[in-house]
């Protein structure tokens, strides 16, 4: 067994809205290994985004513990969380969130400028198959291309984990598959632990493990003995 990237014990997140307490995350125990591709599936409000946010250092649990390798994320201050995100986490958003005034290349460079041991922006873009389009602005790129730029931007700093929240949510199936392809390629070549939230059940086939969420708990874990290639997917 390889070393764990994330170790969660009794992880709980409770939002109080008015007089009602909502258990977004309820006593979750979880380990995620290095190089693993994990897909989180489940209906809206089942807790998968809350977990992703806590793992990404954007939110703190109400109780329980979460370790990133040896680092206890539970009690980190804002400043330390920022450093954690900066050094170890790559994010891919549903809506790409690129800086419109920067070209693809420059969007990647924006991150590599502040990273410790980044790859060259051109290499990161080549990894997602965009070396030909790197001097285009977001407005000149298709949705799928924009998302691949976002992936290049996320992985250029060689993060330990790549957190993707609905990365194909805004895309048609053909472009969606190209994006998944890019994510898997990164995982293969760099060994980046990749966690993908999706509503799209087909995508579970590319994962090592699939976590099914319901009511703030992991209701079921499915281990895929063989991962499918993105090209084999349809939806």
């Amino acid at each position: 067994m390889t070393q764990s990237v994330f170790t969660a014990t009794a992880l709980t997140k409770t939002y109080v809205s008015g007089e009602v307490a909502v258990h977004a995350l309820n006593n979750v125990d979880l380990e995620i290994a290095e190089r693993e591709v994990v897909v989180l599936l489940g209906p809206s409000g089942s807790g998968k985004t809350t977990l992703l946010n806590i793992m990404g250092g954007l939110d703190r649990p109400t109780s329980g513990r979460l370790f990133f390798r040896d680092l206890d994320l539970t009690d980190l201050q804002d400043r330390e969380l920022t450093k954690y995100r900066r050094d170890h986490v790559g994010f891919v958003f549903q809506f790409y969130n690129l800086v419109p005034s920067l070209t693809a290349y420059e969007n990647v460079a924006l991150v590599t400028e502040v990273a410790k041991n980044p790859m060259r922006p051109a290499d990161a873009l080549a990894l997602v198959g965009l070396e030909e389009r790197m001097h285009h602005f977001p407005a000149q790129l298709s949705g799928g291309e924009q998302q691949r730029v976002a992936i290049a931007r996320a992985i250029a700093k060689r993060p330990a984990v790549l957190l993707c929240d609905e990365p194909t949510g805004a895309l048609d199936s053909k472009t969606g598959i190209r994006v998944i392809e890019a994510l898997l390629g990164v995982n293969r070549q760099l060994g980046t632990t990749t966690i993908i939230i999706t509503h799209n059940a087909s995508i579970q086939q590319v994962a090592d493990r699939v976590l099914f969420f319901a009511d703030g708990r992991i209701s079921r874990i499915q281990r895929n003995e063989t991962r499918r290639e993105a090209a084999e997917l349809t939806w």
Partner: protein, 773 residues
């Protein structure tokens, strides 16, 4: 959102406040003056005469256009005030023994009028009494017609004729050293052997009468009795100064508030248009729910109206309050017996309408774009804005320029109009600060030239009548006198073409060292043996320069009209005057060497001895003291100007803060998602703040030089508007003023950055992952 609404309201309020305070206080003072003049019968034409029979007054009334005449005795005399070592002078004026004066009536503040024929009873002007803590029963002495007499105060009064009281030879009012003393006519006539005669006359004109015509007929009547040329209100000291001060206020109110109001209107326009653009989704939603375009526009207009109304109310309250304070300050300075506070509903309407229109146009500009979109499109986020490379792709700048810098440069390049307007807003903020602050520098320069370069004497002794030349030696022998220079002053009318002015020509010795003439390059000038030097301003008024010839009517001695070449124009800031070599002037007047005054350099340690000695000289009308004059100048004029400047500076700072804050705040709204993504990607708050504010910082810095330039231009306009025959300035804007103006803008920028920082801290990072806007 409230903070931003407040910031916009502040900018609107700043503009409104300036207009209301400046125009309001000017109107109040103007109306106060009109009411004062009218109720107390201030004359229109004034003349001095040596001795004219009272019967002549009836012939003056008969001059066509004359409504009323007041003939009386007016004499200058030296005062000796117990416990006050410096010499003071008094303007003695007679009061009719039966009934009230026809013109220039007194406003009795306390006590009563002197009894007929009582030589010792006097009424004094209230400021003088107040300066010395005198009340009824207080005593002081005066040398009247060569004899020292003790006087007792029976009342205090104010007069429209002496709103602004300046002693002989002095530039500035000094209530301690100059008094207006009213005495029974019978008593004063007795003292000066003027029974049945008068020495001064003032005339009230009928409406529509020609002042010029009346003056020339009056001159003809008075001439045989030693009359000096009559003059209108324009040459009456008190009126002229009051006019000048009100003019100055008026000019300030015409120059600064429109700038403030325009800047604020411009900013409100800019801010609201961006603010409404941010509401795109809500507008789409409203349309989807079935609201008509008209009702949506109306809704946003109401929102805009609310902000503007808040600004107008805020500005009106502050402006009215400041206006009342300034009116009271000036009213006190001029010793008005009462104040008329002008109500100015039109001002609120003008200020309000302009601000509201600017805001509405700004909102409409943004609404037009959004409202024309179909609801489905409006509810979706706008397509990513198209940016362009500024350089070919082959040129890679990332080794040299950081990505945040690139973002900033491209943002500016993508919104050139907005960037220009933003920079313009900053530049205007700097400019209004410069124009609010420059008066300080200009006043210091005026003081430098007037008191330290030109008129370097310590004291000037003025005589009741002109004296023969050996008086200089007498004065020189007084204790503490180190040097003495004679001064001869002759009243003339100077004319070139159709333009004429009444001025005084001063004759000064060729080797004069105390009172010097300074040319426009600020170098001392030695007068040539012939010819006339004149104030630069007078040259400007007459349209003459060195080498031209003017006509002079000599108004003293053998009245002749002569032509005279102009040999130089002179840098001076007070009054308009002519200067000649003393011998040349003597030859022109065809007289023996005589002097009107002597300029002195004093031994600081023997000042008191000098004061004591000069107080007992019966021929002296007054002693002007430069040090005291300078102190008074700083205390009065400088104080008023500084007060105004401080108020304007405060308002300018508010506007500067509003500009920067609104800009930063809206940029933050527009780029919230982008900035939050950066935070998620691991950028620190500081880095994100830097990215947000870099653009504003650069625009602020870029705006400074144009701001200085505009500020200098506006200062020049103001200086030019303020330049008058009585006083003017040379435009001086020190580097420190530019630095100060920029510092205030930068400080405002930093303050708003600090406020914005708290917003960055609260950026919702989680929301960014999910939503597009």
């Amino acid at each position: 959102m409230w903070a931003q609404v407040l910031a916009i309201a502040l900018v609107v309020g700043g503009g409104v406040a300036t207009l209301v305070l400046a125009v309001g206080s000017h109107r109040s003072l103007e109306e106060t003056r009109i009411a004062y003049y009218e109720r107390y019968g201030f004359g229109d034409v004034f003349a001095q005469v040596k001795r004219a029979p009272k019967a002549l007054a009836d012939r003056i009334v008969d001059i066509p256009g004359v409504a009323a005449v007041d003939a009386r005795i007016a004499k200058l005399a030296l005062l000796d005030i117990p416990g006050f070592s410096e010499p003071a002078s008094g303007q003695f004026v007679s009061l009719p023994d039966n009934g009230e004066a026809h013109l220039n009536r007194l406003y009795i503040r306390s006590g009563r009028l002197p009894e007929s024929g009582r030589t010792e009873e006097v009424v004094v002007n209230e400021p003088f009494a107040r300066a010395h803590g005198f009340s009824e029963g207080a005593r002081f002495s005066a040398i009247l017609n060569g004899k020292k007499r003790e006087l007792v105060i029976v009342g205090t009064a104010l007069s429209p004729e002496f709103v602004y009281t300046v002693g002989p030879g002095d530039l500035m009012p000094d209530d301690r050293r100059f008094a207006v003393v009213w005495m029974s006519e019978k008593a004063l006539a007795g003292v000066y052997d003027l029974d049945g005669a008068f020495s001064a006359v003032s005339v009230k004109l009928q409406p529509g009468a020609s002042e010029r015509e009346v003056i020339s007929r009056l001159d003809a009547l008075l001439d045989p009795y030693g009359g000096q040329a009559a003059h209108g209100r324009k040459d009456q000291t008190s009126h002229a100064w009051l006019d000048h001060e009100l003019d100055m206020l008026n000019n300030m109110s015409r120059t600064l508030p429109p700038i403030f109001l325009l800047v604020s209107a411009f900013l409100v326009n800019l801010t609201l248009s961006r603010l409404v653009a941010l509401e795109r989704e809500q507008i789409g939603l409203l349309k989807a729910l079935g609201y008509t375009d008209g009702s949506i526009v109306l809704h946003y207009f109401k929102f805009v109206a609310l902000i503007v109304a808040a600004g107008i109310v805020l500005g009106s309250i502050v402006g009215t309050w400041l206006g009342l304070r300034i009116t009271a300050l000036f009213g006190d300075f001029f010793h008005f017996p009462f104040l008329v506070f002008a109500k100015a509903p039109d001002l609120y309407v003008i200020a309000g309408a302009l601000s509201a229109a600017a805001a509405a146009i700004g909102a409409l500009r943004a609404l037009r774009e959004v409202v024309t979109l179909p609801p489905a499109v409006a509810m979706q986020p706008p397509a990513p804005p198209v940016y362009r490379r500024l350089l070919p792709a082959s040129i890679q700048l990332d080794q040299i320029v950081s990505q945040p810098t690139l973002m900033m440069v491209r943002n500016i390049a993508r919104h050139p109009v907005r960037a220009t307007f933003t920079a313009l807003g900053m530049a205007l903020a700097t400019a209004i600060l410069v124009v609010s602050l420059f008066t300080r520098d200009t006043m210091e320069q005026l003081i430098d030239v007037t008191y330290f370069l030109a008129d370097r004497q310590d004291a000037t002794i003025g005589f009741v009548e002109k004296r023969i030349g050996n008086v200089v030696e007498q004065v020189h022998r007084l204790p503490g006198v180190l040097a003495a220079e004679p001064f001869r002053e002759v009243p003339v009318r100077i004319r070139h073409g159709n333009v004429e002015r009444r001025i005084t020509i001063s004759g000064r010795p060729a080797d004069a060292d105390l009172r010097r003439i300074i040319d426009v390059d600020l170098r001392p000038v030695v007068l040539p043996e012939t010819g006339l030097a004149i104030s630069g301003m007078l040259g400007h008024i007459l349209g003459v320069a060195a080498g031209d010839t003017v006509e002079l009517d000599l108004l003293e001695g053998a009245r002749r009209t002569v032509t005279m070449p102009i040999v130089a124009t002179v840098e001076d800031y007070f009054g308009i005057r002519g200067m000649m070599d003393m011998d040349a002037l003597r030859q022109l007047m065809r007289e023996a060497p005589v002097v009107n005054s002597v300029n002195l350099s004093l031994d600081e340690n023997r000042k008191e001895d000098f004061y004591a000695a000069v107080k007992s000289m019966p021929t002296v009308a007054g002693v002007a003291l430069q040090r005291v004059s300078l102190a008074n100048f700083r205390k009065t004029v400088a104080l008023l100007i500084t007060t105004m400047a401080s108020i304007y500076t405060g308002l300018a700072a508010v506007i500067a803060f509003g500009v920067v804050y609104n800009n930063a705040r809206i940029s933050l709204s527009e780029r919230a998602r982008e900035l939050a993504s950066l935070r998620v990607l691991g950028f620190t708050r500081g880095e994100v703040l830097r990215i947000l504010l870099l653009e504003l910082a650069i625009l602020t810095l870029i705006a400074q030089p144009p701001g200085w330039l505009m500020g200098y231009g506006l200062a020049w306009v103001m200086k030019t508007n303020l330049a008058g025959e009585l006083m003017r300035v040379r435009l001086v804007v020190e580097h420190s003023t530019y630095v100060l103006a920029t510092s205030v803008v930068v400080l405002a920028a930093v303050a708003s950055a600090a406020v914005i920082r708290r917003r960055i801290d609260n950026l919702d990072l989680v929301a960014v992952l999910k939503t597009r806007d």
